[in-house]
Symmetry: C2
Subunit: 628 residues, 2 copies
């Protein structure tokens, strides 16, 4: 395997920033219609080419007069002027206001010849053929002179101005219907790797195919940064095809990003193309996640190779690439949203690289923010959404003790701390309950993990099932669920004994799930009844040790023909059109962190659990059993 | 005039919020492609329909082995296994790993039958036909089991989730290529008023026509709030046409906004249409700016009538309408960006309405933020861009003293305090200089106002010209400019005397401009020479009192044939292809607030002014004269 792939000489993050920053991805300028200009950045100054307003304009409804005719007028001493006509907005005045006369005028109308001020309607009374004026005005009063808002030739907006609705308004007032703006850098995105399949296309998992995550993720990120993403068709690891694609993208784009493959051959092909057609400037950066980053040029285009794992690719993109796209687009760096919180648990790290540790946030009972690491490995796509931001940990920091105050950079200024954070057993009713809570986070890591983490005090709630031993926290409520074995139609398995005594192959759940514990309890009862040790019973079941981490997985293996029986809920067996051998019911319990029972979301959850009738209705007839 | 227009019974802001909030503008849901889903909001829960990964997956480059074969292996006690083949990412394994054998494997590849773990390449050495293993692994080590990331049937994302690049990534991993999202509410925008002209179309100012500002401004604002703006053609004040347009918009949209006209007839037409086809629920709100707001329904659609003035329309939109559009679109309220600062000057207000006072921000020398009111009247479009945010002033607050701490709600979270704030004389070279400073704000209100405001200590710099009397602050630098009279070709005006003694009609600048002061000084010299009082000279000039507020305005009036001579800079006369009668040169001075000379932007400006050569080059040959 290639030596290069080990990335021995890693650049520092500062070097990487400098190398990426030195890439030329200036997209030039373009002209866009005003209606499409919102969010864009002016390429050049806009001067007014006309006066706004374009005429002396009445700024009140009332009467256009000569100010000197109102001298001395007041409530007690009204002055009556002859009414010579009216001027409405959008018409050329047909009257002249001579001394001793007045014309009715609407807000926005052109001041008629002779008039120099407007008396507001509230201080007047129309009389027969005239108008009584009950206040004196000065020349120019209630009139906006031509050009007083902005005059022809004046500077309206400078280059580099970001166009928001307000600037759009000023441009519209000037009659501008198109503007020259910084073009959005075209960013080509190439996913590499023979294993990648576009979402929506059929997937052959047995052949190691996976859906292409990075193309859409990076494209959406490019767009957020003000770039114009161009997705190229997926490239395999073939040199000719890849070279053609990279050259095409480099010809058409200001910046080319490749990403997706973790295979050696794809990386080698990219190296060869850069060496033949461009310049490799950086190769590996001392950041976790994200080490294998490439920076260089291909032809006239800038090039950055992102790591293959989505979390790594996104970290590298956010840290090094997004700033240069924004700069090329003329956009300011966004106000980074940060939150200060306390580490909920200790975190150790000793690889000696700058680490952007993904973290989740949870609000404690006293309103303070707790921070917990989310580390499922960069290969996990769920870790994309299980974190709220990152904590930058310097290379020389090996331990962050629990309680330590840290600053979290949120993934976006719009990011919100989840209202409810739960951990524990997976359950279909629970999933539907979560739909009724705004922005919850739930990690379905099983009953044992839920109990453990609730004891550590991090989540708001834990959901547990199985034998009711030693539940921590405060019980909010729960429901019954029927469990047993999902079997293929016509299966020889009809009860527990037939599973133990027959040849059927089982798929079990892992020992951290409550369901597995309930199953073990039934097996133990059978062993007791038979007067044999538990092991005698479990050893007799083919596949007892074949465990899976998720609720539906055993049943799905049965549905796929890979097993004869799977530990399952009735709900799952029915959903997958499988037979179901009931073995018992167990109670699912929602346990609250005792410090958090006053939290709004926990109270809402408690209320939902309380109302059995509503629960049953909402949850589509699911029998929730009696309350506690 | 209609009584209604006086809006006698104003609703409180809370009532208005409740009435607008009760409007039904639910746009339902729609299905969009994943590539277009970024920023949208999930309408329903997405459960995984497949396991991710879809197979037991190597998470390291190395050798797939049976863990028990590595028992006891270490650096000093290597274990050699027979090499039976290789598995790459994206291919179906063609080998089986039997006891005593190993297969080369790439990151992301399918684990071959028989193997349960991967030994990383760094702890191995290939030998002839075999591989030396120098570490022991446990079952499952360096393998991600099928479904370990997310299992089929598991909850992936809940309803109401806003899709960012991270959620897009998870959906892609699940093979999802389209999702059901909250539709964006369709918001129809109708501009009313006979006087309105679309930007880009020709304008007849003499007939009181103005460009339609609100349509584009409101459309951009609707888009920012997550709505889908639909611009309807401009409606005049004719009942039939307006009724047709309102009905069409109400049929096609979830919400109809009208805006633009300040004319009584347009408002009356809207009243009639609402009365005939809908329901008027609110009529006027006690907020400044923005009083004349209408809320109701037309047919099945919700309706809000915005005030005509752009600043008022935008305030009403932002305060009352944007929140309901966001809610209908499923978007969270944006994190409002606020800045705390001190009032730079006193502000008095006593209308007894809640006031959203537009304010500008400037950073003081010590880094603190000063806040100054921006109130040019709602009719001014420049006030759209001359403010950075608003301060909410409660109805019972009549005075905000200078120094009072206030909280400013920025117009957007991206809003930045301008780097440089200047006030004073308008000048073409200065305008080009400003192009070289990032996001400056400059109010060209003339020399006298610049001096006054610099004395008050609000701006960073003032730009002044004319006689050099009593300049406040610290002189940063300056340049010479040649001034005189712009005249039509063949004009009888050839010098000052011919202007005074002839019949030509002049357009002057206002007395606050430095240029006007320089002109007066020359006239005074002429009067002295002739031994007459100044008034004898100025009275002899037709139009001496005809003043304009902007640099180019007098020359433009000459170009338009409305005057014979205009006080002007040589630069302006040349730009407009007019003749030029030079009368003198004056020095333009840039004066800094003495507290702000250490500010980065002021230092940059000083450096720019210092470098005469660069200045001349940059400014396209403009003769900047000698330095101070």
């Amino acid at each position: 395997m290639s030596d290069r792939r080990e990335f021995r000489d890693l650049a520092s993050p500062e070097e990487a920033r400098a190398v990426v920053g030195a890439l030329d991805i200036d997209p030039g300028t373009e002209t866009v219609a005003l209606a499409d200009a919102s969010g864009r950045v002016l390429a050049e100054r806009v001067d007014a080419t006309l006066d706004v307003p374009g005429f002396d304009r009445a700024s009140m409804d009332g009467y256009a007069v000569r100010a000197r005719d109102t001298f001395g007028a007041g409530e007690a001493t009204p002055e009556t002027l002859e009414l010579v006509g009216a001027v409405h907005a959008g018409e050329k005045p047909a009257v002249t206001v001579d001394p001793g006369t007045a014309a009715e005028i609407s807000t926005g109308a052109v001041m008629p010849e002779g008039a120099d001020s407007v008396v507001m309607v509230e201080r007047t009374t129309e009389t027969d053929g005239g108008v009584e004026i009950r206040t004196a005005v000065t020349p120019g009063e209630n009139v906006m002179l031509a050009g007083a808002d902005i005059a022809a030739g004046g500077r309206a907006l400078g280059p580099g101005t970001r166009l928001t609705p307000r600037e759009i308004g000023l441009l519209a007032a000037l009659g501008v219907d198109e503007v020259s703006v910084s073009a959005r850098p075209r960013v080509g995105i190439i996913s590499t790797g023979d294993e990648l399949v576009r979402p929506g296309d059929p997937l052959d998992s047995a052949a190691g195919e996976i859906y292409d995550v990075n193309s859409d993720t990076v494209a959406a990120s490019v767009e957020d940064a003000g770039g114009d993403p161009v997705l190229y068709p997926h490239a395999g690891d073939d040199f000719e095809a890849m070279e053609g694609l990279l050259r095409e993208a480099a010809d058409e784009c200001d910046l080319v990003l490749s990403s997706g493959s973790t295979s050696a051959s794809a990386v080698d092909v990219i190296y060869r193309v850069i060496e033949e057609r461009g310049d490799l400037r950086l190769h590996g950066v001392a950041v976790k996640p994200g080490k294998p980053m490439l920076v260089g040029t291909i032809g006239e285009s800038a090039y950055v190779g992102l790591p293959g794992y989505p979390v790594s690719a996104l970290t590298i993109f956010r840290t090094f690439v997004a700033p240069v796209i924004r700069e090329a687009a003329g956009l300011p760096e966004p106000r980074t949203a940060t939150v200060t919180g306390e580490m909920a648990v200790e975190e150790r790290y000793s690889e000696g690289r700058l680490r952007y540790m993904p973290v989740g946030l949870v609000t404690d009972g006293d309103g303070s923010t707790l921070v917990y690491p989310v580390d499922k490995g960069s290969g996990a796509t769920t870790s994309l959404v299980d974190a709220d931001g990152t904590v930058a940990i310097q290379p020389d920091t090996e331990v962050l003790p629990a309680g330590k105050s840290v600053e979290v950079t949120l993934f976006s200024p719009d990011a919100r701390v989840p209202t409810l954070f739960g951990v524990g057993e997976d359950d279909p009713l629970w999933s539907r309950l979560l739909d009724r809570i705004r922005t919850p986070r739930y990690l379905p890591t099983g009953t044992a993990d839920g109990r453990r983490r609730l004891r550590e005090g991090v989540p708001d709630v834990a959901v547990v099932s199985g034998p009711q031993t030693d539940d921590p926290g405060e019980l909010l409520g729960g429901w019954e669920r029927e469990w047993g074995l999902a079997v293929a139609p016509g299966s020889e398995v009809t009860d527990l004994a037939s599973l133990v005594d027959g040849d059927s192959r089982l798929v079990n759940r892992d020992s951290g799930s409550g369901l597995c514990r309930s199953f073990d309890a039934e097996l133990e009862a059978l062993a007791d009844k038979r007067g044999v040790p538990l092991a005698a019973v479990t050893d007799a079941i083919d596949g007892y040790n074949l465990t899976t981490g998720a609720t539906e997985s055993p049943a799905r293996k049965v549905a796929a023909g890979e097993a004869d029986a799977g530990l399952a809920l009735r709900d799952t067996a029915e959903k997958l059109d499988l037979g179901f051998v009931p073995l018992g019911t167990e109670r699912v319990r929602v346990l609250a962190n005792t410090d958090r029972t006053g939290k709004e979301s926990v109270e809402r959850l408690a209320a939902l659990l309380e109302d059995r009738a509503e629960l049953t209705t909402t949850l589509d007839g699911y029998d929730v059993g009696a309350g506690e």
